[in-house]
C-alpha cells in the first residue's frame, strides 16, 4: 500500500460526511466525539442480535442527558430525518435496525441509577442501565427488578420497556409492563413528557402502557421508574428429565392445571441441552430428550410441598430423573446454562434464527410435534428451548448462512411455524416484539380496522413517523409507507 493510499484509508469514510450540515448540527449539540460517522461503525450499528441484514445507520449519537435527546430530536426535525433509539442491541426481531439511514440514538451512556424510593416502591433509572446491574444494585436493599430476560446481563431497561420483555421468572411475576410505574419520554416532536405516575391508580389514559412495547416508534424513553420487587425468602429449583419432549410439555400443563404457580418453568430439548452443558458444565443430563427446569419460591415453610408436587406430576408423566438443586451455586449454574442457551448454539452452526410465538399451554405438545415436522420437511436443524409455563415457544433454527439457498428455507420454515402457532390459537410474539420480523404477519392477527387504529395511535404521538420508521405496522399502513418515501438515496449514507 502506498503512503498516499494509506493516508486516504486512514481518513476513510469519515471524510465523506464531514461538512454534512446534519452531522455538524448534531456535533454542535452533543460533543463532537459523541457523534460517530465512520462507515464500519455505522455498519456495526446497522445490526442487532437478529438475523436481519440491510440496516443502514446514519450518524450515531451518544447522548448523556434528556436535554441532549431533546436537542437531537430538534436537529432531526430541522433536517427531516428519522430517529432510531438503541439500547444494547440484543433485540431478536430487528427493532433497533435502522432503515433509511436515520440518526441512531444509542442510550448506552445514559446509565445512572438514581433515587431508590422505598416509600413508593420504585427506583428511577436511566434507559441505558443494564437489567442485571439494576438487580445487583438493589439486592443488598432486599429488592430486585423482576423481569429477567435471558439476556439480562446485557440488555437495557430502555430496551426492556420498548419490547415489553419477559424472562423465565415472569411466569409468576408478570412481564415488564407490570414492573414499570412511570416513564419520562422525549416525543418525536421533541417534548419531554411523563407517562404514568407513582400513584397506584393514576387518573386519565394509561399512556405508560401504550409506550411499553412500542419498540421505539413513539419516542425515546429517557428515565424509567421501575418497581421494586422484594427478594424471595426461599427458593427450590428442580431439574427433571424426560424421554420425550411431549412428556415435558404435558408435565408443564399438568402443573398449572393443578393450581401450582411456579416462579419459572423452562424446557430445553436434547440438542440445546448438549450445547449448554458443554458451555457451563452444570450437570444437565445430555441423554434425555428434554429437560424441565422448574422453580418455586415463597416462605420457607410450605415451599417443599409445591416442589414435591411438581416432582410427582413429573413422575406421573414418565420423568426419568428428578433432581433438586442442592445450593445456590448449583442453582446459579443451572440458570446460567438456560440463559446462555441461544448463544451456545454457535457450537453447532454459525447462524441461528430464533422464533418467538405463544400457544395455549394445552396445545404445547402438538405444536412442538408440528414444529419438528416442519424442520424435517425443510431439511433444517431445529431446537426448542422455551418458557413453557406461559406457552412461549422459542424454536431455534440453526444453519450456516454460507450454504446456498438456506436462508429461503429458514424463512419458509419460520413462516410455517408462525402459521402453526396461530392455527393453534396462539399469537405472533411472546416477548421479542414485532420489529421488522413479523410485520408481514400482523394482518393475520388484526383486521384492517384494528391496524388502522393502531396507526392512528402511532400518528398521535408521531405525526410524521419520525421515530423508528418501518417497524411494527405492515406495509400498506401509513407509517410504513411514509418510511419508504422518506428513505435517503443510497450513496449518501449507504
Amino acid at each position: 500500500m502506498s503512503l498516499l493510499d494509506r493516508f486516504r484509508d486512514r481518513v476513510g469514510s469519515g471524510s465523506a460526511t464531514s461538512g454534512d450540515p446534519l452531522v455538524d448540527d448534531l456535533r454542535a449539540v452533543l460533543s463532537p466525539d459523541r457523534v460517530k460517522t465512520d462507515g464500519a461503525q455505522r455498519s456495526l450499528l446497522g445490526k442487532d442480535a437478529s438475523v436481519f441484514d440491510g440496516g443502514s445507520a446514519g450518524p450515531i449519537c451518544y447522548p448523556i442527558s434528556t436535554n441532549e435527546v431533546v436537542d437531537i430530536m430538534q436537529v432531526a426535525q430541522r433536517h427531516d430525518r428519522a430517529v432510531v433509539p438503541r439500547g444494547a442491541g440484543t433485540g431478536l426481531a430487528g427493532g433497533a435496525i435502522p432503515l433509511g439511514a436515520p440518526i441512531v440514538v444509542a442510550v448506552t451512556k445514559m446509565r445512572s441509577i438514581g433515587e431508590i424510593d422505598e416509600a413508593n416502591g420504585v427506583a428511577w433509572v436511566e434507559p441505558g442501565v443494564i437489567n442485571l446491574d439494576l438487580t445487583r444494585h438493589l439486592t443488598p436493599l432486599g429488592y430486585h427488578f423482576a423481569p429477567d430476560p435471558s439476556s439480562q446481563q446485557v440488555c437495557t431497561i430502555g430496551g426492556n420497556v420498548a419490547n415489553n420483555s419477559g424472562g423465565p421468572h415472569c411466569l409468576a411475576y408478570g412481564v415488564t409492563n407490570s414492573h414499570v410505574a412511570a416513564i419520562e419520554i422525549v416525543t418525536p416532536s421533541g417534548d419531554v413528557v411523563m407517562l404514568g405516575g407513582l400513584d397506584p391508580e393514576p387518573d386519565g389514559y394509561d399512556l405508560r402502557g401504550i409506550f411499553i412495547g412500542s419498540e421505539g416508534t413513539l419516542g425515546i424513553a429517557t428515565k424509567v421508574a421501575v418497581r421494586l420487587t422484594k427478594n424471595r425468602p426461599a427458593v427450590r429449583t428442580l431439574l427433571l428429565s424426560f424421554a420425550s419432549v411431549r412428556d415435558a410439555a404435558n408435565t408443564v400443563s399438568d402443573v398449572i392445571a393443578a393450581g401450582i404457580v411456579p416462579a419459572a418453568m423452562e424446557v430445553m430439548d436434547q440438542r440445546i441441552t448438549e450445547a449448554v452443558e458443554n458451555y457451563v458444565g452444570a450437570g444437565y443430563p445430555t441423554n434425555a430428550a428434554a429437560v424441565l427446569l422448574a422453580e418455586v419460591d415463597g416462605p420457607e415453610e410450605g415451599i417443599d410441598i409445591d416442589a414435591d408436587r411438581i416432582a410427582e406430576i413429573g413422575r406421573a408423566n414418565n420423568a426419568t430423573m428428578v433432581r433438586v438443586a442442592a445450593d445456590n451455586t448449583e442453582r446459579a449454574l443451572l440458570w446460567k446454562g438456560r440463559k446462555t442457551a441461544f448463544g451456545a448454539v454457535a457450537q453447532i452452526a454459525p447462524d441461528y434464527y430464533l422464533h418467538d410465538t405463544v400457544v395455549p399451554r394445552s396445545a404445547l405438545a402438538d405444536v412442538l410435534d408440528e414444529i419438528y415436522a416442519i424442520a424435517d420437511r425443510h431439511d433444517l436443524l431445529i431446537m426448542n428451548v422455551f418458557h413453557a409455563g406461559d406457552g412461549n415457544l422459542h424454536p431455534l433454527i440453526v444453519f450456516d448462512g454460507r450454504d446456498e439457498g438456506v436462508l429461503e428455507r429458514v424463512h419458509a420454515a419460520g413462516g410455517e411455524i408462525i402459521e402453526a402457532s396461530l392455527a393453534a390459537g396462539g399469537v405472533l410474539s411472546g416477548e421479542h416484539g414485532i420489529g421488522v420480523e413479523k410485520q408481514k404477519y400482523m394482518d393475520r392477527l388484526f383486521s384492517d380496522a384494528d391496524l388502522d387504529h393502531q396507526n392512528r395511535l402511532r400518528r398521535a404521538f408521531d405525526p410524521v413517523c419520525r421515530a423508528n420508521p418501518g417497524k411494527i405496522l405492515p406495509m400498506g399502513h401509513s407509517c410504513a409507507d411514509i418510511q419508504q418515501l422518506r428513505s435517503v438515496p443510497t450513496g449518501v449514507w449507504g
Binding site: R10, G12, A40, L44, T108, G128, I130, G343, A344, Q347
Partner: protein, 383 residues
C-alpha cells in the same frame, strides 16, 4: 485487507451481545465499537468487505486491552484472543499499528541486561521524581539487586524480564514458599530472558515465536516451570498454539502458575497462624479468563490470612493490560476507577494480585497490592 483471520473462527460469533458487559472498554465508554462484538464485526468488515482502515477502526482495535474477559462470557466459545492477536500481527506487518518507538521500547525486554540497566536508570529517575505519573509506576524500584540462587532442581521458577527487574522480591517470596513445601527451585534468570507476551499483544508475534524457541531450548527436561506473573504464564501456555508443534505443546503443558502448582501440593506446605488481615482477591485477567486457574489463588491463600473477600465485578479487567496503561492512559484510568470502587466496597486491608502489571497499575492509584506468594511467605516467616 486480508487480516489472515480464520473464516470459521470469525463466523462463530452470532452477535448475541452477551459479551458486552464483560468488556472493560465497553463498560466505561458505552460505545459498541469498543466491545468484543463490535471489534469482531469490524474485523469482518475489514477482511470480508474491504472496509477501509479508518482512524476509528484502528482505534477500536488498538483500545482492546486483550484481557479476554469476553472469552468465558461467550457461550459460542469464540476464540477472541487469537483473533485479536492475528489482527494485530497483520496490522503491525502493514505498519498500521505499533510504531517504531513502541518496537524500540519492547526491544530491551528480550535482553535482560539492557532491561536491568534501563530499570536501574528508571529507579534512580524515580527517586529523583523524574518518572511521569502516567507511566503508573509507583512502587519504588530497587536500585541494586542480589541475584537469585538455585536451591535445587525439582522445579523451575520463571523470572522473566519486567518481573525480574522490577519485582524480584516476589520471586524471592515465591521461592521460599515452594522451598517450604520441600521442593528445590531453579530460577531461570538469564536462561530464558522473556516470554514474549507483550510482543504478541503488540502484533509482533514473530518476536514471540523466536523467544519461545529460545526458552524451549534453554529449559529442556521435564521439570515443571512455575510462573509468578499471570500474563507470562498465559503466554507460555499458548506456545503450543503459537508454534503449532508437538514439542511446543509439551512445553506448554509443563507451565504452571505458581499458585496453581502450589494448590496441587498444599499438603506439603506447613500450616501456621494466619496473618491478621482481610485480603481481597483481585484476579488478573490472564489468570482468570485465559489460564482459568484463579480458584487456586483462593485455595493457597485461605489458610494464611484471617479472611478472604471477593470483589463483586465478575473479574472485570483493572486496565493494566501489559503496556496498555502506558499506551491508552485515559481509558486505563477509567477502567481502573471501576476496579478501585469495587475494591473499596469490600474494605480490605490488602489486595492480592498474582500479576505484576495489575499490582503496579493499582498501586499507582493507592491500592495496597501484594502478590499472594508474599502473603504466604510473610505468614511462614512470622511463625
Amino acid at each position: 485487507m486480508d487480516l489472515h483471520l480464520d473464516a470459521d473462527d470469525l463466523n462463530m460469533c452470532v452477535q448475541c451481545g452477551l459479551c458486552l458487559p464483560h468488556c472493560p472498554t465497553f463498560r466505561v465508554t458505552g460505545d459498541e465499537a469498543m466491545s468484543p462484538r463490535g471489534r469482531i464485526h469490524l474485523m469482518r468488515e475489514v477482511q470480508d468487505n474491504n472496509a477501509p482502515l479508518t482512524t476509528e477502526v484502528l482505534e477500536s482495535f488498538e483500545t482492546c486491552v486483550q484481557c479476554r474477559g469476553c472469552e468465558p462470557a461467550c457461550p459460542s466459545n469464540v476464540p477472541y484472543g487469537h483473533l485479536m492477536e492475528q489482527t494485530r500481527e497483520t496490522l503491525a506487518e502493514h505498519g498500521e499499528i505499533t510504531p517504531r518507538w513502541q518496537r524500540l521500547a519492547l526491544a530491551p525486554l528480550s535482553n535482560p541486561s539492557m532491561l536491568q540497566a534501563g530499570s536501574s536508570a528508571l529507579a534512580v529517575a524515580q527517586r529523583l521524581k523524574l518518572v511521569p505519573k502516567r507511566l503508573g509506576i509507583s512502587a519504588e524500584l530497587p536500585i541494586r539487586r542480589k541475584p537469585l540462587q538455585a536451591s535445587g532442581n525439582d522445579v523451575y521458577l520463571f523470572t522473566g524480564c519486567v518481573m525480574d527487574a522490577w519485582q524480584r522480591d516476589v520471586h524471592r517470596a515465591g521461592m521460599r514458599v515452594i522451598e517450604a513445601a520441600g521442593f528445590g527451585v531453579t530460577p531461570t534468570n538469564d536462561l530464558a530472558p522473556c516470554c514474549g507476551a507483550l510482543h504478541a499483544h503488540a502484533g509482533l508475534s514473530d518476536t514471540t515465536r523466536g523467544l519461545a524457541e529460545t526458552m524451549m531450548a534453554a529449559l529442556e527436561s521435564d521439570r515443571p516451570i512455575l510462573v509468578d506473573s499471570a500474563g507470562c504464564g498465559a503466554a507460555m501456555k499458548d506456545y503450543g498454539h503459537l508454534l503449532g508443534t508437538s514439542e511446543a505443546q509439551a512445553f506448554s503443558e509443563r507451565v504452571f502458575d505458581i499458585g496453581e502448582w502450589l494448590a496441587l501440593n498444599m499438603d506439603d506446605l506447613p500450616r501456621v497462624a494466619p496473618l491478621d488481615l482481610v485480603v481481597a482477591v483481585q484476579d488478573p485477567c490472564h489468570l482468570r479468563h485465559v489460564q482459568k486457574v484463579h480458584e487456586s489463588t483462593r485455595t493457597v491463600l485461605r489458610p494464611y490470612v484471617r479472611e478472604l473477600v471477593e470483589l463483586d465485578d465478575d473479574g472485570l479487567c483493572c486496565g493494566a493490560g501489559g503496556a496498555y496503561s502506558v499506551l491508552e492512559p485515559e481509558l486505563a484510568g477509567q477502567i481502573r476507577e471501576r476496579k478501585v470502587e469495587a475494591i473499596n466496597r469490600q474494605r480490605p486491608d490488602a489486595v492480592a494480585s498474582a500479576n505484576p502489571g495489575c499490582s503496579m497499575h493499582l498501586a499507582a492509584a493507592g491500592v495496597p497490592t501484594i502478590h499472594p506468594m508474599e502473603l504466604i511467605d510473610q505468614a511462614l516467616q512470622q511463625a
